[in-house]
């Protein structure tokens, strides 16, 4: 029983020398001109200096998240090179940005890509290009999430997997089975696909009706009341869409479970999360990218658009608008209708640990979740390392502020100072790791006021969403929030299809 003995010993040693250590840290991406501040300047129509330079260019991509970069990727691989990508922040990537310190690289938000199934040709293509998918159809083990993948802290101990298994009654198990069965049916229907656009034609009236109720309501109708199952579904919708099961459209909630049929045990993940993909895209596309270039106005001309950023104004035939869609009515002149989909506030934190907390039972996993915690748990950035020994580590901690109204939650998000949030985070982690304070040496916090769309009832089949997603004219929308589902695959699909539209129309203009 070496583990029991070790644990007894650490508990004993731990109790004699307990002293909170000094903890450093800060909010990140909050320098003037960045993040929240920049957003508010746009919202308030602050005055910007007049441009000194005028550049004519066939196409401009606004926003360098996964969607914008995917548009650039598509332009480039089709041999179209006359464009720039303008990105507000100093670092491209958007929600797939990452950081790095002496211990490890780590994600700031998006941290994994589910292994795509055969029906997602675009993601397949990208994976093949990045060496993740071999020619013989096998996936590179290196970046598939290593064992052990997930664990849940429940009833005072860790269990393997996130679906609660400890303490289930027969009735709970029957409800799990019922839920699985319903999901299997939805999967077969073909109505729930990734990208979501691909399945819309398969949606019957019954499917559409699912967008009229919340997931919570759907569960009630199905007689699903097991507290464990309810927790699990609520955890899942908070984790992927920053929205509680009680608030999310049942269509979106079901899409999460029914849209994938992975052919390999995944997901794909890296120390820096999806930042790994961004780095590789930037290595290839960096020359098109201008960072620190906030677009503050996009003005319609008789032909084409004027895109204002810093001291330059671009005169473009086409604009691929890949910045968050709800900014569009502040930037574009004349403004499009108000974007009807609210967005969810999120908080992520990267904790640098000088040593690991004592652990008992299931080993540290990639994803570590605490049952009934308001947060979503933490992901271990060093998990994909090949070392057998890892003295220090970085944990990325996730928290979707999903209770009640998004605007109220944003007030809390921005109202708490670093100390307040630090306490919230450590206290939450202390449930599972009583000695966490003695392990953490640094804690940096990223506050994302408008992190992702909240797919509440009505969002999926909202006429404005459908209209905005349909490309027309010479300004096309591309951010993943057009899908109302915040996923890498959606961002990539939106970016590529917007770019493809531009290519088709640019060539037809040229030949005419």
């Amino acid at each position: 029983m070496p583990t029991r003995r070790e644990f007894g010993a650490t508990a004993l040693a731990g109790l004699t020398a307990k002293a909170d250590r000094k903890l450093e840290g800060a909010f990140v991406f909050e320098a003037p001109g960045q993040g929240v501040e920049a957003g508010h300047r746009l919202r308030d129509h602050a005055r910007f200096a007049a441009p000194a330079r005028r550049v004519r260019i066939p196409a401009v991509i606004v926003g360098g998240g996964v969607a914008g970069l995917s548009a650039a990727w598509h332009f480039d691989r089709r041999g179209f090179r006359d464009f720039v990508l303008l990105e507000l922040e100093q670092q491209a990537g958007g929600n797939a940005r990452s950081g790095e310190n002496a211990v490890s690289a780590y994600p700031w938000a998006a941290h994994y890509l589910p292994v795509p199934d055969k029906r997602q040709p675009l993601v397949h293509e990208l994976c093949r290009e990045l060496g993740l998918l071999h020619d013989d159809g096998t996936w590179d083990e290196r970046w598939l999430c290593h064992s052990p993948q997930e664990r849940l802290f429940i009833h005072g101990r860790w269990q393997e997997g996130i679906e609660p298994l400890v303490g289930l009654t027969k009735a709970d198990a029957a409800q799990y089975a019922h839920f699985e069965e319903r999901i299997a049916g939805f999967r077969l229907s073909g109505a729930f696909r990734i990208p979501m656009e691909a399945g819309l034609a398969q949606n019957t009236a019954a499917h559409r009706a699912l967008d009229g109720v919340t997931m919570g309501e759907w569960m009630r109708r199905e007689g699903l009341y097991s507290p464990y199952l309810k927790w699990f579904i609520d955890y899942s919708t908070r984790d992927d869409y920053g929205t509680r099961a009680a608030d999310i459209s049942a269509w979106a909630g079901l899409h999460y479970f029914a849209a994938r049929a992975p052919e390999e045990k995944g997901p794909l993940t890296w120390p820096e999360g999806n930042g790994w993909i961004v780095k590789r895209l930037l290595a290839k596309l960096g020359r098109y990218v201008r960072t620190g270039a906030m677009v503050h106005r996009i003005q319609r001309q008789r032909r084409g658009w004027l895109v204002f950023t810093g001291d330059t104004v671009y005169e473009a035939d086409f604009v691929v608008y890949a910045a968050p869609t709800h900014f569009a009515s502040w930037l574009i002149d004349p403004p499009p209708p108000r974007w009807p989909i609210d967005s969810a506030p999120w908080l992520t934190a990267n904790l640098t640990l000088d040593r690991w907390p004592a652990n008992h039972g299931v080993e540290f996993c990639w994803d570590n979740v605490i049952y009934n915690s308001p947060s979503l748990g933490y992901v271990i950035a060093t998990h994909q390392n090949l070392n057998t020994r890892q003295d220090k580590t970085v944990w990325t901690y996730y928290w979707a502020l999903a209770d009640g109204r998004a605007a109220d939650q944003r007030r809390i998000l921005l109202g708490g100072d670093w100390n307040w949030w630090k306490e919230k985070i450590l206290t939450d982690l202390e449930r599972a790791h009583p000695d966490i304070r003695r392990c953490v040496s640094r804690l940096d916090i990223f506050r994302i006021g408008h992190a992702m769309p909240r797919p509440v009832p009505g969002a999926i089949f909202h006429p404005e969403r459908i209209a905005r997603a349909r490309h027309q004219g010479s300004l096309v929308y591309a951010n993943c929030d057009l899908s109302a589902l915040s996923l890498f695959e959606e961002a990539q699909y939106r970016g590529v299809s917007a770019a493809d539209y531009v290519l088709r129309n640019a060539s037809s203009t040229a030949t005419r």
């Binding site: 598939l144 064992s147 020994r389």
Partner: protein, 498 residues
């Protein structure tokens, strides 16, 4: 005088509450779910106190000396309560039973204290005054203890010392009582001696509180410990019994000097003797230098690179006289290059190609070690093996962990090796398994170095023969994203240990 009397009430009340808090805290630390632990502990403790109070009616004579005995018993039992519980947690499976027995025992004794004391004091005070004062000081003591415990005791002293400290206070009250009530004691000296003995035992306990886990640690090894080192990576313990030296890493037996030659000859020679003209060799793991000792029996080898995680391990095995005798000073040989690094990332950085590679890692009993047995690792390894070279992987026991053994074989195959599994009997381990991997077709060697004690050119072939009880069983390969091996291994050894 009155104040002093009621101070004793205050103190024993504080002690009583502290033991209860200690039991509750330890239970929630060790078992989790603090709400459940605290409420059941408090409930049982109060219930036991009730039993104690009820029992007090049966004590009719010699109240003072009974009171002193009870104080001393509480002092000892309460004082060592956390020590006992920690050790029970670490070494037995009966933690819960012990926890509640201890809580009941202490509770009963504490329940006896106040009724007895009240009866002792009843001659000196009126009933009204007595009840009022005793209960006041009782509750005050509880308040004091409940504030002291979280604010001072747990953070500053820890649970072990706090308990002992309060044990000492109980013993102090006992001693003090021998003076206060000497009129009631026929021979106070005997009682004082008993108090002194308890104080000494507790004070001794206080002094060694820190070493409690250490002493217990060495009790685990049956034999004389001649070397014990805790490195950042592991605990290295070398024991001796007569002429048998045994090395334990994290309490897992690595070898016994009586039969390690069987293990290491079998690990090295079938592979190395078959690679004609081998010049460069690599050993991954195996910081004890015993495999290297066998490899040095091939004069044609020009260099042996040994990669072991733990510098202390390779340092001990290249300096400690006893260990040098065991490995024939192999690690000091000029052909041997020692690298202290984590094998997987090291191999990723290294660009050597080797004629023979020994992979001698600890058994895959956790996911971190399991990475060193994956298709990803073996694929990487394949790039480092010469075209006509060979690798050999220690592959746990095909007898006790049959599926694990065949899983390793399957994993090597998936990684593109031709595999040749074999096994041998090593008494201190049992039936042990190895898998040889090559890039080409392969034949067992027909000649071996001279001076081997176990292998002969004649018996090598027989190692490759598997009797029906060790024969192949289907197993999924072990991959980074799906470590089947760690699960197989865990299942198989659990069945045996139980």
């Amino acid at each position: 005088m009155t104040v002093v009397l009621f101070l004793s009430v205050f103190l024993i009340a504080a002690c009583g509450l502290i033991y209860e808090l200690i039991a509750g805290t330890l239970a929630s630390y060790l078992l989790g779910d603090s709400v459940l632990q605290f409420s059941t502990i408090i409930g049982s403790y109060l219930f036991a106190m009730g039993i104690g109070s009820w029992l007090s009616r049966f004590i009719d004579r010699a109240l003072v000396s009974r009171f002193i005995t009870i104080e001393l018993m509480v002092g000892l039992l309460g004082g060592f309560s956390s020590t006992i519980l920690f050790l029970a947690f670490a070494y037995t499976t009966g933690f819960r039973v012990l926890l509640y027995s201890l809580v009941l025992a202490i509770g009963i004794l504490v329940g006896l204290e106040i009724p007895l004391l009240m009866r002792i004091l009843k001659e000196r005070f009126g009933f009204k005054e007595l009840v009022a004062n005793v209960l006041t000081f009782d509750y005050l003591g509880a308040l004091g203890a409940s504030l002291l415990f979280p604010l001072l005791l747990v953070p500053k002293l820890g649970l072990v010392r706090s308990a002992i400290l309060f044990g000492l206070i109980n013993a102090g009250v006992a001693l003090w009582s021998t003076f206060l009530f000497r009129r009631h004691l026929p021979s106070p000296l005997i009682q004082r001696a008993a108090c002194a003995a308890v104080v000494l035992v507790l004070a001794g306990g206080m002094a060694v509180a820190d070493h409690i886990t250490d002493t217990a640690d060495s009790a685990l090894y049956a034999d004389e410990v001649i070397l014990a080192k805790t490195t950042p990576y592991q605990r290295i313990v070398l024991t001796k019994w007569k002429q048998d030296y045994r090395l334990y890493l994290n309490s897992h037996l690595q070898f016994s000097s009586r039969d390690e030659y069987r293990y290491h000859e079998t690990l090295v020679h079938p592979g190395l003797a078959s690679v004609a003209g081998a010049r460069r060799a690599l050993v991954l793991g195996g910081g004890d230098g015993l495999a290297v000792r066998e490899m040095l029996k091939y004069p044609g080898l020009e260099s042996i690179t040994l990669v072991d995680l733990d510098p202390e391990m390779t340092r001990q095995f290249s300096t400690h006289p006893l260990l040098l005798e065991l490995n024939a000073a192999a690690l000091k040989n000029a052909k041997v290059h020692i690298v202290n690094a984590d094998a997987f990332p090291w191999l990723e950085r290294d660009n050597g190609v080797y004629d023979f590679v020994v992979v001698d890692f600890p058994d895959p009993n956790n996911y971190s070690l399991g990475k060193l047995y994956t298709t990803a690792f073996y694929r990487l390894l394949r790039h480092h093996v010469a075209e006509n070279g060979a690798v050999v992987v220690q592959s746990t026991s095909p007898m006790f962990a049959r599926k694990s053994f065949w899983c390793i074989n399957e994993t090597l195959k998936q990684a593109g090796f031709k595999t040749f599994p074999y096994h041998a009997y090593v008494p201190s381990f049992g039936e042990w398994g190895y898998v040889l991997g090559t890039r080409r077709d392969w034949q067992p060697p027909t000649a071996l170095p001279t001076g081997l004690r176990f292998l002969t050119a004649g018996n090598v072939r027989s190692l490759f023969d598997f009797p029906p009880d060790l024969a192949p069983v289907p197993a999924e390969p072990n991959r980074l994203n799906d470590q089947t091996l760690v699960r197989y291994y865990d299942q198989e050894w659990r069945e045996i240990v139980r």
